[in-house]
C-alpha cells in the first residue's frame, strides 16, 4: 500500500514539476520582456525577443530528454561502429567493410526491403478500411476494440498465438495449427509455413500487419472524425455515393495523417526484431536487420562494433523519410 501512495505522490509531484516549469518559465519570460512597457519601440522589441526565446522554453524538456536518451546513444553507437569487439580498439571502417561483404547482411537487407514494401502499405490500408467501416455502424466501438486487441496483447502472448496458427504436423497427424488444419480440410498438403524460404517472410509479416492494423485504425479513426461534417453533407447533397465520398472527400482531407501512420509503421518495420527472433530467429532465410543487430550485440558476449555498424545502417535507411518530412514541414510553413 505504501508503494501506491509513494507512486501517487511521485506522479503528482512529477506532473506538478513539469507544469510549473512550463508555466513558471513562461511567466518569467513575460516579466523580463514585458509586452506593455509604455514605449512602443521597446514593446515591439520585447515581443520580438520573447518570440525568439519562447519556442525553446516549450521545447526545452523534450530536447533535453531526446538528447540524453536517444541522441547520446546514437553518438555512442557511431563511435562504437568504428571500434572492435569490446569497443576499445579503433578499427576504422573494418566493421562496415565486413558488413557489406557478409551474406547474412545481404539476406537481411533484402528481406527488410520486402517488409518495407508490404507491411506499411498493408497495415495502413487495412487500418483505414477498418476505421472507415467501423465508423458507420452501431457496434463500431466493439469491432474496433476487437481489431485493436492484437496491439494490446503482450509479445510473449502473440508468439504463442501464432504458433497455434503456423504449427506444422505431418500429413497423418492431427494438426494443431489452424492454417494447416484448414489446408488439409480443403484437401491440400500441410506445409511448414515458417520454414519455407522467401515465403516465410510473408507469414512473419502477417503477424506485424495483424498487430499494426490496430494502431493505424486508432490514429486514422481519430483523423476521420476530425473531418467537418459540413463537407460530407455537401457531398451527399451533390449525390455522391459512399465510396466516392470516402476516396474523393475524406481521404484527401486526412492525407497528412495517412502519411504519419505510414511513416511510423515504416519505422516500426525497420526496428522489428522480436517477431523474427521468437518465430524463426532469422533461420530459413528470414533474417532482418534489427534481428541481425541484436544477434551481434548480445549473442555470446556480443561484438559491439559490428552490432553498432548494423544499427547505423538501420538509421541511415530512415534518411529518405526524414528528407521527405523536412519538405513537408517547409511546405506547411509557407502556408502560414
Amino acid at each position: 500500500m505504501e508503494q501506491v501512495w509513494t507512486a501517487l505522490f511521485t506522479i503528482v509531484l512529477g506532473i506538478f514539476a513539469a507544469v510549473s516549469w512550463f508555466w513558471g518559465a513562461n511567466f518569467c519570460l513575460d516579466r523580463l520582456l514585458p509586452a506593455r512597457t509604455g514605449d512602443p519601440v521597446q514593446n515591439a522589441r520585447n515581443i520580438h525577443r520573447a518570440s525568439l526565446i519562447r519556442p525553446w522554453l516549450f521545447l526545452g524538456p523534450a530536447i533535453l530528454a531526446l538528447g540524453l536518451y536517444l541522441v547520446y546513444p546514437v553518438w555512442e553507437s557511431l563511435f562504437l561502429s568504428f571500434h572492435g569487439k569490446s569497443g576499445q580498439d579503433f578499427v576504422g571502417t573494418a566493421n562496415y567493410r565486413w558488413l557489406f561483404a557478409d551474406p547474412g547482411f545481404r539476406e537481411s537487407i533484402f528481406n527488410n526491403f520486402l517488409w518495407l514494401l508490404v507491411v506499411p502499405a498493408a497495415s495502413t490500408f487495412l487500418g483505414l478500411l477498418a476505421a472507415a467501416l467501423t465508423d458507420r455502424i452501431a457496434w463500431g466501438n466493439l469491432a474496433k476494440s476487437l481489431i485493436f486487441l492484437p496491439m494490446a496483447i503482450s509479445f510473449v502472448g502473440a508468439a504463442v498465438i501464432w504458433k497455434f496458427v503456423y504449427d506444422y504436423r505431418s500429413g497423418d497427424d492431427a494438426q494443431i495449427g489452424i492454417l494447416n488444419a484448414l489446408v488439409t480440410w480443403a484437401g491440400g498438403d500441410p506445409q511448414a509455413w515458417i520454414a519455407l524460404p522467401f515465403w516465410n517472410n510473408f507469414f512473419l509479416m502477417a503477424i506485424l500487419v495483424w498487430i499494426q492494423t490496430g494502431f493505424a485504425m486508432v490514429i486514422l479513426s481519430a483523423a476521420l472524425r476530425g473531418i467537418p461534417e459540413e463537407t460530407i453533407e455537401a457531398a451527399v447533397l451533390d449525390g455522391a455515393n459512399g465510396i466516392q465520398i470516402f476516396f474523393k472527400i475524406m481521404v484527401p482531407q486526412i492525407w497528412g495523417t495517412i502519411a504519419v501512420v505510414w511513416t511510423t509503421i515504416t519505422i516500426t518495420v525497420l526496428k522489428v526484431f522480436d517477431i523474427v527472433l521468437a518465430m524463426t530467429n532469422g533461420q530459413w532465410k528470414s533474417n532482418v536487420l534489427a534481428n541481425l543487430m541484436f544477434d551481434w550485440m548480445f549473442r555470446g558476449g556480443g561484438d559491439f562494433g559490428r552490432g553498432a555498424a548494423i544499427a547505423m545502417v538501420i538509421m541511415a535507411l530512415v534518411a529518405p523519410i526524414m528528407i521527405w518530412n523536412i519538405r513537408n514541414a517547409r511546405k506547411e510553413m509557407e502556408g502560414r
Binding site: G14, V74, L133, T264, L270
Partner: protein
C-alpha cells in the same frame, strides 16, 4: 434508397474483418482453458465439440480391490472423474483398439479386463494386484468438451503476482503521463511557433524514431550507474525507468501530436492572438483541449508499450523480486526452458485485462465533434 444493400455490405465486411482478426487470439483464449497435455496433441478447435481421442489409463496398484472366492477384482473408471463414451479398448500399445467396448480381454495368467461403454472397467485375476505395476488400459473414446480453470489458477495465485501488478502500474502510469505533457508543449512549438531550425528539428525527431532501443541500453545504464555513484542514489529506481520510458516514447509522441495540432484550424489561433492571448494561453486554453483525441490515442499506445515491456524494466529496474514487473513475473512462471503453452496462454489474458480497460476508458475521447463545434 439504395442504402440497404450497401449497409449490409458494410456490416458483413466488418464481421469478416473482426473474425479474421480475432480468430488467432480466440484460439489462444480456448487454449488457456484446455488441459495442458491436450494442447500439443490436438488443435484448439477440437476442444469446442466432442472429440474422439485415444488415451491411456493406468489402473491403480491394487488400491480398492475386492477379493471374492479366490479372485481379486478391481473396478473404476478410465475417465477418472470426467465422462465420455468408450468405443474400443486395448491392453497393448501395439493394438490400442483391439477390443470393442463391453468385450472381455484376456491378459494371460487367468487375468481378464473389460471396459464398458461408460468407461467403467473391471480387472480381475487370481492374484492380488498389489505390488504389481498398474495395468495400462488403452481406449478410444468420444469425450464431451472439457475445460479447466487450472491454468488461470496457476497464474492468478502465483506468489508475488499482486506485488508485480502494483509495480507494473507504478511503472506504466507516470511513464505515460510525463511524455504526453512534455510532448504536447514541444508539439505545439513545432506546429504553431515560428523559429529558425524548425523543419530540421522535426526531421531529427523522425530520425530519432528509428533509434534501436537495444543500442541505448548500455550507454544509458552506464550514465545511471555513474550518476548513482556520484550522488549516492540507487541507479535502478522508478524515477530512472520513468525517465527512460519518457525518452524512448517522446519521438512518437511529438510526431503524432504535432501532426494533429498542425491540422487545427488556423482561424482559431489567429482570432485568439487578435484578442491578445499569449502562446501559453492559446496552448493551454485552446490547443490542449482540442487535441484530446490525439492525446488519448497516444496515451493508449504508450501505456500498452510500457505495460507490456520487459526489457527496459529488467535493465532499469532489475529482476529482483520486489521490483519485478508483471510481464517478468509471468515469464518467470514458465520453467527455465519456457514453453509451457498453458501458462503462456493464461498469463497472456491476465496481463491483457488492464490495457483493454485503458482502451475502453480512453476510447470515448476519440470522438467526432470536438472540432466541429469550434470551427465557427
Amino acid at each position: 434508397m439504395a442504402n440497404n444493400p450497401y449497409r449490409w455490405a458494410v456490416h458483413l465486411s466488418v464481421v469478416l474483418f473482426v473474425l479474421l482478426w480475432t480468430l488467432p487470439t480466440f484460439g489462444l483464449f480456448v487454449t488457456s482453458f484446455r488441459d495442458k497435455d491436450q494442447i500439443a496433441v490436438s488443435g484448439w478447435w477440437t476442444a469446442l465439440g466432442s472429440a474422439t481421442r485415444n488415451d491411456m489409463f493406468r489402473a491403480p496398484e491394487g488400491e480398492g480391490e475386492v477379493e471374492e472366492a479366490g479372485r481379486f477384482t478391481l473396478t473404476g473408471s478410465v475417465f477418472a472423474g470426467a465422462s465420455g463414451h468408450v468405443k474400443a479398448f486395448g491392453i497393448s500399445s501395439k493394438a490400442p483398439d483391439a477390443f470393442a467396448a463391453g468385450e472381455v480381454a484376456d491378459l494371460g495368467d487367468g487375468e481378464s479386463l473389460s471396459v464398458a461403454e461408460d468407461g467403467s472397467f473391471t480387472l480381475s485375476g487370481p492374484e492380488s494386484f498389489k505390488d504389481k505395476r498398474g495395468q495400462r488400459i488403452f481406449f478410444t473414446a468420444t469425450t464431451p468438451p472439457s475445460f479447466t480453470l487450472d491454468n488461470y489458477r496457476a497464474v492468478l495465485f502465483a506468489e508475488g503476482l499482486g506485488r508485480s501488478f502494483l509495480n507494473s502500474a507504478t511503472v506504466a502510469i507516470p511513464s505515460t503521463v510525463i511524455p504526453i505533457l512534455i510532448a504536447a508543449f514541444a508539439a505545439y512549438a513545432l506546429s504553431w511557433m515560428q523559429f529558425p531550425g524548425r523543419a530540421l528539428l522535426i526531421a531529427a525527431i523522425v530520425g530519432l524514431l528509428v533509434v534501436p532501443l537495444q543500442m541505448s541500453l548500455i550507454p544509458l545504464l552506464r550514465i545511471y550507474n555513474a550518476a548513482g555513484q556520484a550522488l549516492g542514489f540507487d541507479p535502478k529506481s522508478y524515477i530512472g525507468i520513468w525517465l527512460a520510458h519518457t525518452g524512448f516514447g517522446l519521438p512518437l509522441a511529438i510526431y503524432l501530436l504535432r501532426n494533429y495540432m498542425v491540422g487545427l484550424p488556423k482561424e482559431i489561433m489567429e482570432s485568439a492572438r487578435v484578442d491578445g492571448a499569449t502562446d501559453f494561453q492559446i496552448f493551454t486554453r485552446i490547443v490542449l483541449p482540442l487535441s484530446f483525441p490525439a492525446l488519448a490515442s497516444f496515451a493508449i499506445f504508450q501505456f500498452l508499450w510500457t505495460w507490456n515491456d520487459l526489457l527496459v524494466a529488467l535493465v532499469f529496474l532489475g529482476p529482483q523480486d520486489d521490483k519485478l514487473v508483471l510481464t517478468g513475473r509471468l515469464v518467470n512462471l514458465l520453467g527455465s526452458r519456457g514453453g509451457d503453452w498453458e501458462i503462456l496462454a493464461a498469463s497472456a489474458f491476465v496481463s491483457i485485462a488492464v490495457p483493454i480497460l485503458v482502451f475502453f476508458a480512453l476510447q470515448k475521447y476519440l470522438v467526432r465533434g470536438l472540432l466541429a463545434g469550434s470551427v465557427k
